[in-house]
Amino acid sequence: MRSKSQARPKVGVFKFASCDGCQLSLLDAEDELLAVARAIDIAYFPEASSIMKKGPYDIGLVEGSVTTHHDAERIQHIRRQCRTLITIGACATAGGIQALRNWAEVDEFVRAVYASPQFISTLKTSTSIAEHVPVDFELRGCPISKHQLLEVISATLAGRKPNVPTYSVCMECKRRGNVCTMVAHGTPCLGPVTQAGCGALCPAYNRGCYGCFGPMESPNTASLSQQFRVLGQSSGDITRAFRGFNAWAWPFRQASGEGHRS
């Protein structure tokens, strides 16, 4: 239990290769934002404030994947500065959509996209933070759920375990009373192999789950792929379904046909 005399935990928010959407989930927590600002000391959050206090930090929230030599060194430094390190979002936990480069030739992209490719220095891969340093807790999603972010902050402050279930999206889908898109419409859905947290958002709007929360605790991707085939999906369709925001997460990588080029 926290007492008034205890200092507010010092929090740093760090960005790697990402779109900033997950950090923005914190600013998006309109109703709770003031309470958050009172409860924690946001010491380093360049996206939100120009005040940047030096480390060490009690909690580091890390967004984004490692795609450059510079980032690979920077995450080592950040890890040393943070007592608890929490990765937020699909980029930080799995490499993000940019991990599709892991199946392709990055140099070709660089030549095609940039007018002066000689100034570009990048790694051949996009990898999760956990592939570089130990991570204490992961928040999934593209973007993360602001409810889960607030839950982790509240739980940490109260000294209790955060309620971040690792079971399937289907659990939330059925509780919400959605009609299963896969069974009732024949729409391929990654829900059965994807971790809950979104509240079954896509199926609630008759879209199959895109798997943005990454693999659930026991993902049976082989069985789901088989069911996708029953629904008329080709091998290429199945590869593309798994090569989304969490393509490089091992169970999805494997299901997409490891080694195949996209």
């Binding site: 409860a39 839950e151 509240s154 026991s218 049976n220």
Partner: protein, 365 residues
Amino acid sequence: MPRFFRLDEPALDGLIEALRQQGYTAVGPRVRDGAVIYDEISSVADLPQGWASEQEAGKYRLNRDPSAGPFDYVIGPSSWKQWLHPPEARLFAAERENGAFRILPNTTSAPRYALVGVRACELAAIAIQDRVLLGDRYTDPIYQARRKALFVVAVNCTRSAATCFCASMQTGPRAVEGFDLALTPVGNGRQYLGETGTDAGAAVAGELGWPEAPPEMMSEAAETVRAAARAQTRNVALEGLAEALTAAAEHPRWETVAKRCMACGNCTLACPTCFCTTVEDTSTVDGARAERWRKWDSCFTQSFSYIHGGSVRTSVKSRYRQWLTHKLAYWQQQFGTPGCVGCGRCITWCPAGIDLTEEARALRA
């Protein structure tokens, strides 16, 4: 003694209206997102007239069928469990006060539901949940309050889905008990034979002044319901089942089914008898308020069997075995009946198309 009446469509509309007048929230079948689900209804116009369902393992399609009456959809994904044993419920809230905390009373009163279109298998499922949630030393106050205030309009099935097997589970398709009123569609679903089950049902029937049913209507109704039973293609052989499954703990079939099962939990959440819940505590960022919530859980999740040090059932095989043996074997010892009423939801709504009747058969081989 039950009494029998003849109802036409305006009379059914009058029944829904009368129940609403008495302060009930009427809940019944309606079409949403390509399926027939249970939700609030205000008149017969909300009922899924002209729709029929096609159901197979892992497959459901709602098709236009001009010959289909309002109850010919058979059953859909939702069950009455959603209304009586809600998916998420707040158990209590507490607020910090002068260094201590105060439990805030739950002030909301229980809703009064009139369920319209409850099938025989679903009545059996409610009877099972009654035994589980009310029949022991510990009663569930949330379920109890909703259950007490309930009015049940049952509908006897005159069509079966391909996934139905209530006849073999001896729970249907004819509703025998547990209803205030029961209706049987006759004359191609444009008329109903009404039957009273309780004094409350008889009172409503009397108030609405329904005419008595002619004898030929009663024989037609009985015959169409029997035909629905005969049309069922799936079955579970109950004789010796619990013993056989208990003896089959190491059967190779568990491995086979575990290759297909995704441990997604759909079967348990769709099942009208599964009652398991988990409890989650929440607190606000400033620590001033805390709440305890109860949510539907499933024995397919890893956290379900978590005890100090880890989960007991780490393999999907052990979790599928837990589900099937609880439904068809241990439930019997625990509560005196099987935990399955033969509604077929777990078959239709399993995204991998796993069929419990097929698994039960294979496990006895």
